[in-house]
Symmetry: C2
Subunit: 199 residues, 2 copies
DNA sequence: TACATTTGCTTAACAGTGTTAGATTATCTA
DNA sequence: TAGATAATCTAACACTGTTAAGCAAATGTA
């Protein structure tokens, strides 16, 4: 009975279509506006049949997350294989990670919980820059006069911010290690950047 | 006519109540399940009156965001004032930033778009650690044998990850500076951590 | 005081969401 | 061809944000 297999193949195909359609919608309109009925529309079915392939909406998101991690792992592995020197490998691997995030923005958002509902509205909020300015100011002071270009200061500011914000995000989303460990990492990173701020 | 003022005061109070109620609900049940009707319930009104104080739901979120930035700025300013040495100031300021994030988890989430719908489910996803393991492995190799404790390697891994993830998040949410600048910051940070990885 | 107007608030509804149960249709089996 | 089974859809439920209409009490005016 080859028909059994044909049917199984068809089922696997619509399952895959559901995932593809979801990602398409998200790429076009963002996670916020992904709905079961829109997915159904795209695969030319009605909403309830989706529940024959996934337990619920979260099931779809979870599967896409999984796929994301697999692509990421592949990319990183390939980057590693392009060198034999460990330091170079590591650098390339992180750059691959970086590239993955920007080539698969939506997947990265899903995987690491980076999302923003009101985004462009926030740019017109002066309060958002109050704290930033203070940091910027101190960093400028810390940098030798001969290095003190706007670019250089800005770079250092973003480096600081990235470390702290990154560490916070990781902990807010999937509570990394314990609080003591985090304090250690934080102080470590801070002291490191401050120490070599002129390089 | 003092009654005009009394009424204005009452209106200001319910406006404030709406914001407080919203934050309460979010602290108890998360952003996901914040609804206009729940807010109305908490302030003992019906949903439509909220629209007399805020244009829509996003208006409430935006106002909370603004309040968040103001608290953050205050905290950072206070931290700065506790020292006169610039390097020490900067360190204390970032620690204040860090503390703000964990004392006001929900606000920080709102302000910087850190959110995760399916969180505890993701822990049971082995694919999520595929790439992590590769990084971990390389980092271990790069660290001198005498430093190679689990704690130390873990710390370095998190430092790397924080920098890169932080930079990515910042760019995904409110597209920071241009791509060239980002590449610069990334390479800068990577080379820096790798160089001083044994310290 | 009597009427008119404004204000504060509610009910009811619309269009959308995720999800489920029941009915319907198509396909396969005997 | 008749009956069983699988595939699919319609309708509904409970929820969401949001708006319009209406009611009732407070207020202003004559």
């Amino acid at each position: 009975m080859g028909s059994k297999e044909r049917i199984a193949r068809l089922k696997e195909e619509t399952r895959s279509n559901i995932l593809d359609a979801s990602l398409d919608i998200v790429k076009e309109e963002g996670w916020q506006s992904l709905s079961m009925r829109k997915i159904a529309d795209k695969i030319e079915y009605t909403a309830p049949i989706i529940y024959e392939y996934f337990a619920n909406k979260e099931g779809i998101l979870l599967e896409l997350t999984r796929k994301g991690y697999l692509i990421l792992a592949k990319d990183v592995r390939e980057a590693m294989s392009k060198s034999t020197d460990t330091a170079t490998q590591l650098e390339h691997m992180w750059i691959a990670y970086w590239n993955f995030a920007f080539e698969n923005k939506e997947l990265y958002r899903l995987m690491y919980g980076v999302d923003m509902n009101c985004c462009e509205l926030k740019k017109s909020m002066p309060e958002a820059e109050l704290a930033d300015d203070m940091f910027y100011d101190r960093i400028e002071l810390l940098i030798k006069k001969e290095n003190r270009t706007e670019d250089f200061v800005c770079r250092k500011f973003y480096t600081f911010w990235s470390v702290i914000h990154g560490l916070i995000s990781i902990n807010l989303v999937n509570k990394g290690r314990g609080q003591e460990m985090n304090q250690h990492i934080l102080q470590d990173a801070l002291k490191g950047i401050i120490k070599y701020i002129n390089e």
